[in-house]
Amino acid sequence: MAHAEAHAAQHVAHAQQQQHPIKLYLLVWGLLFVLSTFSYLVDYFGLQGYLRWSLILIFMMLKAGLIVAVFMHMAWERLALIYAILLPPLLVLVFVALMVSESNYILFTRLAFFGTGS
């Protein structure tokens, strides 16, 4: 009986250890502030074109990665959970590709049949 209890206690302890140093959270918090400032400055300085878009995407992905990995503890979860949660959203990119092609076609038909400005 004692063995079973010890085993259960060990299991519970193992199940919920998401205990990480406060310092790490403060570091990520600071990084998120810096990255947000950077993405705001992209707009403030009025950067345009591919430079603007790539900077926005880089800062966005870095912020999202930090939040998911550290704040949501994904970095310390088992691969079985990580892949189950993080792989399906990637399929949205297929949907994006479909809709980019579709939107271009709609724009083309609008320009061809309705002229500009409608």
Partner: protein, 240 residues
């Protein structure tokens, strides 16, 4: 009572690491998410479904913006404010971003204190998080009133493509609703923590089950997700 029968259960065997571990977890004809409680696993799966909802909203916005022949209103100008006579672009949205990131920081601290069973600190940090959340919703209400006063409607606006209004109200409205529910969720759990429900093993009034401090982490998952969605909205709707 007889001694428990020893079975070579999954927990007693060392699990392989890396991709082999992933394959054996999913192929083992047992629970796939080992060492993850059902509460946490279900919150993650809910968040996955929510990801698809917001993904579809942003996709709809992308399609509308790409397909319109009318110029899209410049968000940098639309969301600018006059502060002390100076014209500052996008400043309100930047402040909202910082408020939400700060709330994520205090939430992470609350989870940490929760696992150290520091009842007072956990509850206070969760209340600060809720306060930041409420501030965010308040600023969003201000932003909506300002735009509506300027003539933005779901079917048109003074500056360009009509789809701007519908995309804006749909996306930020859904996100604001999520923040509001998050604040309510935080207040409920903070009250339980403050009362010491997870130390005295008091049973929940609805489930009649004993709670654990893990619920603070699960609440945190939802809250960080709300922040995460804002990162994408900020990038695609306000900055693009």
């Amino acid at each position: 009572m007889s001694a428990p029968i020893k079975t070579p259960a999954a927990e007693t065997l060392p699990r392989p690491a890396g991709l082999a571990g992933l394959a054996s977890d999913w192929a083992s004809d047992q629970r796939a998410f080992k060492h993850v409680s059902w509460g946490k696993a279900m919150m993650w799966i809910f968040l996955l479904s929510d990801t698809f909802i917001f993904g579809c909203f942003l996709l709809a916005y992308m399609s509308a913006r790409m397909a319109t022949t009318v110029p899209w209103p410049n968000p940098s100008e639309v969301f600018a404010l006059e502060i002390a006579g100076a014209h500052v672009p996008l400043i309100l949205i930047a402040i909202m971003t910082f408020v939400l990131i700060s709330s994520s920081g205090t939430m992470a601290m609350a989870v940490n204190c929760g696992y150290r069973r520091d009842r007072r600190k956990t509850a206070i940090l969760m209340l600060i998080t809720a306060l930041f959340g409420a501030t965010f919703v308040g600023m969003q209400a201000f932003e909506w009133s300002k735009l509506i006063a300027e003539g933005v409607r779901p079917w048109g606006n003074p500056w360009g493509a009509a789809q701007f209004g519908s995309s804006f109200f749909m996306i930020t409205g859904f996100h604001g609703t999520h923040v509001t529910f998050g604040v309510i969720f935080l207040l409920i759990i903070a009250r339980k923590v403050w009362r010491g429900d997870f130390d005295t093993e008091r049973r929940g009034f609805f489930t009649s089950r004993k709670g654990r401090y893990e619920i603070v982490e699960i609440t945190g998952l939802y809250w960080h997700f709300v922040d995460l969605v804002w990162v994408f909205i900020f990038a695609f709707f306000y900055l693009w």
